[in-house]
């Protein structure tokens, strides 16, 4: 369903008091986000939560490339996150591959699955697109459940703990939370920079045009189906990369990572933060995971708080946390 959502692109707005700030924000968005990431582990209650925010932030940004920027609501992106994690884990535990080869394989397989699922799903539109992606991803979930000799089935995949990453000249001890955080942060920062390049590229303009008005984009000479497929695969690769990082971080791959519950989580985080903005999904992941972590310590009924906050956002702050801030910044 083409979402005529008001994207708060940080493109320079003529004649607004905050225009220079917004322009600066958009031009320097990657270094600014890098600075924020460096501070994160010391602000949040624990490094483990900070790493999760990194990983789910990357998943949300990857997902937002398709949902916020191309306007396609998919409910099956857990498949790519899970596929990235499982491939990395299996490559190490079954084939003894080195961690780098395993991660590259993870991203590749996720991309391949995205190509297949995208090619099938893009034939449909709107809520049917969401349902086809949901159905196809559930098929992958049940296949993983059945193939327990490979994936560990319901118990999840275990036995591929990588405690050290060796690089020429230095090595990272993954058992040390701080070293692990900054190692994963480097990968996430590179991925953010890659997404920023895509959004600023000519291709980035095309996917936004498709989100705005698919028929006119086609009339302007763009092959809409192929462009959607490329966006779908790029988004799948990014979620796959996040999956490989999650495998390295937790040293297990829970079956739940393939379940539509995880797909729903991505949608919630992206919208809580602000779909269609660059920082939005990351802010959404940070907000959601922090709320969940803090509230679940207060009471076992934390879900009622998270649910209510979500309703309030949809009703009164539809642009999400970051989207609303951007909009406030714009209105003089």
């Amino acid at each position: 369903m083409t979402i005529t959502k008001a994207p708060t692109l940080p493109a320079a707005m003529a004649g607004d008091r905050f225009a220079p700030i917004l322009a600066g924000l958009s031009r320097w968005r990657v270094p600014l986000s890098l600075l924020a990431l460096c501070v994160l582990p010391w602000v949040l209650p624990s490094q483990a939560l900070a790493v999760n925010v990194l990983i789910y932030g990357l998943v949300a940004v990857g997902y937002n490339l398709l949902f916020g920027y191309t306007g396609l609501l998919s409910f099956g992106h857990a498949t790519f996150f899970g596929a990235g994690a499982y491939t990395t884990g299996m490559a190490i535990s079954h084939f003894g591959a080195n961690w780098f080869v395993a991660m590259v394989a993870g991203v590749f397989i996720a991309g391949l699955l995205a190509l297949v699922m995208g090619a099938l799903a893009i034939r449909t539109r709107g809520i049917y697109f969401a349902m086809v992606t949901l159905a196809l991803s559930q098929l992958v979930y049940y296949t993983a459940l059945q193939a327990s000799s490979w994936t560990g089935g319901e118990n999840g995949l275990r036995g591929f703990t990588v405690s050290q990453l060796d690089f020429p000249g230095f090595s990272v001890n993954l058992l040390d939370p701080v070293e692990k955080y900054y190692a994963i942060m480097v990968v996430v920062a590179l991925a953010l920079w890659f997404v920023s390049r895509i959004l600023n590229s000519p291709f980035g303009a095309v996917i936004e045009a498709i989100r705005e008005n698919e028929t006119r984009a086609r009339a302007c000479g763009y092959n809409v189906e192929r462009t959607k497929l490329v966006a779908f695969v790029l988004s799948g690769l990014l979620c796959g990369l996040a999956g490989t990082l999650s495998a390295m971080h937790l040293a297990i791959v829970p079956l739940d990572s393939l379940h539509y519950h995880t797909s729903g989580l991505m949608v919630m985080m992206t919208l809580l933060g602000g779909a269609g903005t660059f920082f939005g999904p990351f802010v959404g992941a940070l907000a959601f995971l922090s709320m969940e972590d803090v509230f679940s310590l207060w009471t076992s009924h934390w879900q009622i708080i998270v649910g209510s906050i979500f309703i309030i956002f949809v009703l009164y702050l539809p642009r999400g946390i970051w989207g609303t801030l951007m909009a406030l910044g714009r209105r003089p």
């Binding site: 490094q47 483990a48 459940l145 319901e154 275990r158 937790l250 829970p254 934390w302």
Partner: protein
């Protein structure tokens, strides 16, 4: 006894349960477990699914674990250090459990971890703890955690495993030449129980006439039951867990299966029994790790029940609740023997430990750290012969602790 509608017969007016629910709920709302870690206290991490389908079992485990901690603190703690239980909600999700365990180890600097209530979650916690050489006592059913590829020097399994449960239950329900049908949840835990039942069945000499695998977490069993009824079996083994157990037995009873065959389950779950009417579970036989009715025959059960009643104004411990007690208490006894929290010393102490704190003699086997313990076989009572609301089961047998019912160390992959 004229049967009013099923609702209120034998359970007192359901309004009471509703009000109890409200009171219980508000209780948990107001009682945050946030306990900032002091420096010298002994901290034990306790991941458990406070939200999700097993929240009731999780709450039982937390209360029993807190009883064990209180008992030790009242005695002045261990080597003068007070003990603190850090409870975290793992939401019955393996990824969440791994994150919570990382937090407990890295931020809260816990000395050991006890807990987790599903096979997937405990294996996730175990993966995090064994890589960091942190002691972990798992307290829920799983066969995989005993196997060499998952086990470790720092992994202990205080719960029953499907293999030992099915061996004992089969011994008391299978008769030579009987026809046995199986309805099994199609996931690791279900397959482990099926494997156990079939191995015991071969030794006793029964004939397997039907094997129906149902999707994990299914709500509808009507399409599986005709095959079972058509198989003409004498015994139906339903190997699944949690709500699947209550749903599958309820629907089997609806189809009149109980008139034709004896229903047997590997584990008779306390909380699933009270989730349905007594007549649904009436006559069903299954295994259990603990039942408060043991207090008539086992002195340590009596002391445990009394301590529990005292602390929780007359409430009784449940099967999964007891795991919380035996898991934490055995760990604290080992720490006491080791005189501190040094992991290597505590592991050695646990391996040498002999303890009888709730259900009779128990000890940890050397190779896979499985707690060798007695296995109960229970039969669910009908509404008629229940003395009161808590009198759910009768004890059919109490198989004493022995290694015969366990898979051999070699078979589990432990060599030498």
């Amino acid at each position: 006894m004229t049967r009013k509608t099923g609702l209120s017969a034998g359970r007192g007016v359901t309004r009471r349960t509703a009000l109890a629910g409200i009171a219980g709920g508000i209780g948990t709302l107001a009682m945050p477990w946030v306990a900032r870690a002091q420096n010298d206290t002994i901290r034990i991490g306790f991941p458990t699914p406070l939200t999700g389908p097993f929240a009731a079992e999780a709450n039982d485990q937390v209360r029993s674990a807190q009883l064990a901690v209180k008992q030790f603190n009242d005695k002045g703690g261990i080597a003068g250090r007070q003990i603190e239980l850090l409870v975290r909600d793992d939401k019955l999700n393996a990824g969440e459990a791994a994150t919570r365990t990382l937090e407990l180890i890295e931020k809260d600097k816990v000395h050991a971890v006890v807990g987790a209530l599903s096979a997937a979650v405990q294996l996730a916690v175990n993966e995090v703890t064994r890589a960091r050489k942190v002691l972990y006592v798992s307290i829920s059913q799983s066969d995989s955690i005993n196997e060499a590829k998952d086990g470790s020097r720092y992994t202990f399994h205080e719960a029953l495993n499907p293999h030992m449960t099915t061996q004992v239950v089969a011994k008391h329900t299978f008769k030579q030449g009987a026809k046995v049908a199986h309805l099994v949840a199609d996931y690791a835990y279900g397959h482990e129980m099926l494997r156990g039942f079939k191995r015991a069945g071969e030794e006793i000499g029964v004939e397997t006439v039907a094997e129906v695998l149902h999707p994990f977490g299914a709500a509808e069993y009507s399409t599986f039951i005709p095959t079972i009824l058509a198989s003409g079996a004498d015994v139906l083994c339903i190997s699944n867990f949690g709500r699947d157990q209550a749903n599958s037995i309820q629907q089997a009873v609806d189809f009149g299966v109980k008139e034709q065959m004896q229903i047997v389950v590997p584990v008779l779950l306390h909380n699933q029994r009270i989730a349905v009417e007594p007549d649904v579970f009436e006559g069903v036989v299954g295994g259990a790790n603990y039942w408060w009715g043991l207090e008539e025959s086992v002195p340590s059960a009596k002391t445990f029940n009394d301590a529990f009643r005292a602390m929780y104004d007359g409430a009784l411990p449940t099967d999964y609740g007891a795991y919380g007690y035996t898991g934490v208490a055995s760990l604290l006894m080992a720490m006491e023997a080791a005189g501190g929290t040094d992991t290597e010393a505590v592991v050695d102490a646990l391996e040498a430990l002999k303890y009888d704190i709730a259900k009779g003699e128990q000890r940890y086997r050397q190779c896979d750290h499985q707690s060798v313990q007695s296995v109960l076989v229970l039969k669910s009572k009908g509404a008629g012969d229940m003395k009161d609301e808590a009198d759910l089961f009768e004890v059919v047998a109490n198989e004493p602790a022995s290694e015969e019912v366990l898979r051999s160390c070699a078979e589990l992959g432990y060599t030498g």
